[in-house]
Symmetry: D2
Amino acid sequence: MIIVLKPKAKKKDADEILKQISSAGLKPLYLPGTERTVLGAIGDERILENLHLDNHPLVDRIDPILTLYKMVSREIHPKDSIVKIGSLPIGGKKCALIAGPCAIESKPQLLATARAVKESGGHCLRGGAYKPRSSPYSFQGLGVEGLKLLKEASQKHDLPTVTEVIEVADIEYVESYADAFQVGARNMQNFRLLKELGQSKKPVILKRGMSAKLEELLLAAEYIVAEGNPNVILCERGIRTFETAFRNTLDLNAVPYLKKRTHLPVIVDPSHGTGLKELVLPMARAAIACGADGLMIEVHNKPKVALSDGKQSLSPKEFRTFVQNLKPFISAVNKTV
Amino acid sequence: MIIVLKPKAKKKDADEILKQISSAGLKPLYLPGTERTVLGAIGDERILENLHLDNHPLVDRIDPILTLYKMVSREIHPKDSIVKIGSLPIGGKKCALIAGPCAIESKPQLLATARAVKESGGHCLRGGAYKPRSSPYSFQGLGVEGLKLLKEASQKHDLPTVTEVIEVADIEYVESYADAFQVGARNMQNFRLLKELGQSKKPVILKRGMSAKLEELLLAAEYIVAEGNPNVILCERGIRTFETAFRNTLDLNAVPYLKKRTHLPVIVDPSHGTGLKELVLPMARAAIACGADGLMIEVHNKPKVALSDGKQSLSPKEFRTFVQNLKPFISAVNKTV
Amino acid sequence: MIIVLKPKAKKKDADEILKQISSAGLKPLYLPGTERTVLGAIGDERILENLHLDNHPLVDRIDPILTLYKMVSREIHPKDSIVKIGSLPIGGKKCALIAGPCAIESKPQLLATARAVKESGGHCLRGGAYKPRSSPYSFQGLGVEGLKLLKEASQKHDLPTVTEVIEVADIEYVESYADAFQVGARNMQNFRLLKELGQSKKPVILKRGMSAKLEELLLAAEYIVAEGNPNVILCERGIRTFETAFRNTLDLNAVPYLKKRTHLPVIVDPSHGTGLKELVLPMARAAIACGADGLMIEVHNKPKVALSDGKQSLSPKEFRTFVQNLKPFISAVNKTV
Amino acid sequence: MIIVLKPKAKKKDADEILKQISSAGLKPLYLPGTERTVLGAIGDERILENLHLDNHPLVDRIDPILTLYKMVSREIHPKDSIVKIGSLPIGGKKCALIAGPCAIESKPQLLATARAVKESGGHCLRGGAYKPRSSPYSFQGLGVEGLKLLKEASQKHDLPTVTEVIEVADIEYVESYADAFQVGARNMQNFRLLKELGQSKKPVILKRGMSAKLEELLLAAEYIVAEGNPNVILCERGIRTFETAFRNTLDLNAVPYLKKRTHLPVIVDPSHGTGLKELVLPMARAAIACGADGLMIEVHNKPKVALSDGKQSLSPKEFRTFVQNLKPFISAVNKTV
């Protein structure tokens, strides 16, 4: 840890801080400069955090040298982790295709969509039973009824499932009906929820918050893993920028950046990530090309009547073409469908 | 509602949509143009939302004419609402000063800080018992123990209190120990939490999310009010932008913008909003000058040893000067301390 | 054009505006609603702009129906434009590889780099003679001396060239030594420069500004084309967001979005767009996969001693591997190297 | 300067870099850690920049300790600078009110507006003769004709003037007709223009770019001052964020932040900064309350027919009320009108 003092800091101020570093069991360093004094502390920086040196009035700023996340870091665990949703491995040679409606609306809707997903080569069914919506007057999901439909569709079409959990109290229901949890962008820093999911053994797809830095996403994953659940899959789904042409700005830079720093699998949701159906295929191709371990795609048996996000959903026929169209890119990265 | 069709839409596509508008009980309008056809629907737009016309493949875009929020809107309720935290009215002639530590750390810390707040003219004590922190390795709060200390400090120094609630399961504890709930920026769209708070009668300070548009903040407030709790106070606390000089970019434009559109009180937190102690006073003065109904300020009896956010906390002595310094600005807006 | 009036607007206010619309030669529409009145104007909206109805105190907002750009729009010119830099066609079946140093530093540097570009299969040489730098104390480029070196390298290695122009007065020099102009992100809205480039016949690579919306990029291109030079190539090079992990956030969504709306070629600069060497190859692959017509890559014969942007530059050996690595992706989009 | 090496860096790599630091005449420091090695360099960091250590493959990152700007820094020049536009001092006890139309449109428009500015207590007349506009089809300004009208209005109403310069070639015209240059947001990093303005003695109002960090604004000012013109006034005019409720997000945090770091005067433009007339007065009051040295306000004799930005312009009558309304806030900061 590097501690830059303010110009007016005196030798005795530096000594005071150096003493604190020493007594925390770290090695202190004194680096007087011509205009500023810089101090260093060598050792585990997490210990030092408890000294709260950044509160010191003569400390100008502190630059950490190590990352704050540990268990999700590739420095600790260099090999790729493979996380399984049901029988579907994510993070290895297979490019995982997770597809389904934004919201579970009815039995006919879900079964028809599940069949379409399966027939076109999708590997996992998604569908929301609990929907976080900006307006209290929008459709909020079917709840447990939706979870039961998801289970039924899963069994009928032999597809593992993932569904969003938005509240600690719902974890046990979701766990008993679905094969994986999804934590949505709005809940990426709902730390209580993350901790409880750390108690489960079922995998968690953790979506990046709309204004979350990648380091914050990794720290959110650390919350889950530190509690004992190593089965976390990170998902890029678009960030909020000044650009109004798209609903969100899908940030594919996140994929190679994360893959280099963490052993966890990284998937991409170009449907929410762009909000425009015309961008789903090209951005899905790009996601694969830059190293994504899988995709999450909105498919709806009748997009025109979807209760949410119909504008960005593919029809069964469009999804079939979509999967065909991806194949050359999956081959180009030496993966398989 | 204005519905702009795509260039290739034909007369019969327009007719199909117009028929849907009619059967929903709204008045349809047909506006053929030289390059594009535009349709209109006159009546309650919330009805129309259920038709999901934005999913229609020939609809280019839809522009709502009315706002999506109703109960928090000034159009419905033109007079300022006054919300009371204990005996403290917020939203009227008094400029409310809410102050206290970021986190409740110990009895001596909280009592000393509460005394300082009271002695300098603060009206309400803040302090977090449940802390949402980016890293799982940071201090997470004292929990119920902290709530009890808050109650004790409240009684000893005759100050109403506000504290953050981060989870539905904690609502009843917070409700029994504090005078107001705070919903933090990370939970602004934790809709389940908002709905449950709508069942309470105690006031809720709702902080703007780090990347929340003001319309989304108003809709989040609508969640609480629509469930039956009209006692909502909005709080601007900084947004995330490209600027790295401050921790957040305090967006004071929000204050006059919100005050014009909603009858709810609007307060400002310049401590979190900037993250820099040197900016707290000037931005507090600016907040008052542009119409804020109150301020939320971090005060700590010993900022140098604070377990969180010490860098932006004022000491008791600094807080005393701070309050003195605000007075001419409070007078300039015809309010009282 | 749709004109939404404020709630307090009366029938006579609407009439006054409708009369203005009529006298401008457009067809007026009157749409009284239950809560708001909406007016419409059918015809060429550019005429209407001169009425400045948005200044009217009773107008709440105006929603244009048509795009503001015309000549660069695919609606006017549905077929892809192919723009030639020297003999290199951009926008067709070939995936153009433009490469070279950020700044021209010396004859040995440029010649060695040009040779490396040519040998590895690059099609065009880039190199800056005039460098816009944030700090006045950083290297500012060699000026005309650099342009002469560029010409020499071009002839020696049979590579067409592109170089940045930052000032109207330099246009004639750049035009006489290079095959294409580059307008940098900081000058995307230097409208005087754009207009003057519209007088040239040489192609212009127009880079997106750091906070430019895609519609603004298209309007900037319209400036050049409207003056008589149709040879514009758009370039995505990263936008500024809250994320600090990368120098910029390369926004690949721009590629399919622009390709759908304009006939102009679109290329991508992943070197500046990310600022991290490790991201250049994966993001270049992604750019091709989502439809880019070419790439702009920083290559330096000795990145370790580069006077600018060495951190993101590829060495000759790295560039060779880079080009090889792209080939399967270029094939997957049915293009050729 | 602090140099953090990558984990795989060996002792000999560190030695190589330390040797470079030494030979540049700086004092090298070697700080081996348990997980990373950190190096230091004590002395003038600007020398070190020429070593381009950030290009070194084993350097993870470099943290400068000193600011990159010098001449505009308060560390060098602790006392406030007062810059005079004509006879109007900016940066001292007077709160400067610069007002006028966005664009000069005609003699009657400018003279009527100038009279209104003068009569209400404005100190300086603004008005654009060269207008940078996003669309090539919008009004572009009257050019030299406009400058002449500005001069005439200046003499008739005894008001010093400021007008935008967008191109090096126009500097001499602007210099001969106006009392101060304005550099607009889009040209904040038009470094050639800045350097040329550094040759003039007339003051320059430098507006912050739409996505410019405050450090970049200070570096842009450094360009002008380093060339010999110390008369620079910084102007906050709104940044681009995700928020779409306002045209720009006026960032008042900039005011106290800049005032602490630079001796240059800082003014605020709430008209462009918000784009909404209803926000101009509250944000002007806030700007004064947080320490602005002056305001730049759009006033138009007939806002309803303004050729640009009418929506945010005040009428003469509104401007009179505006100035009256500001007075208590100007008193509260111990300044005078």
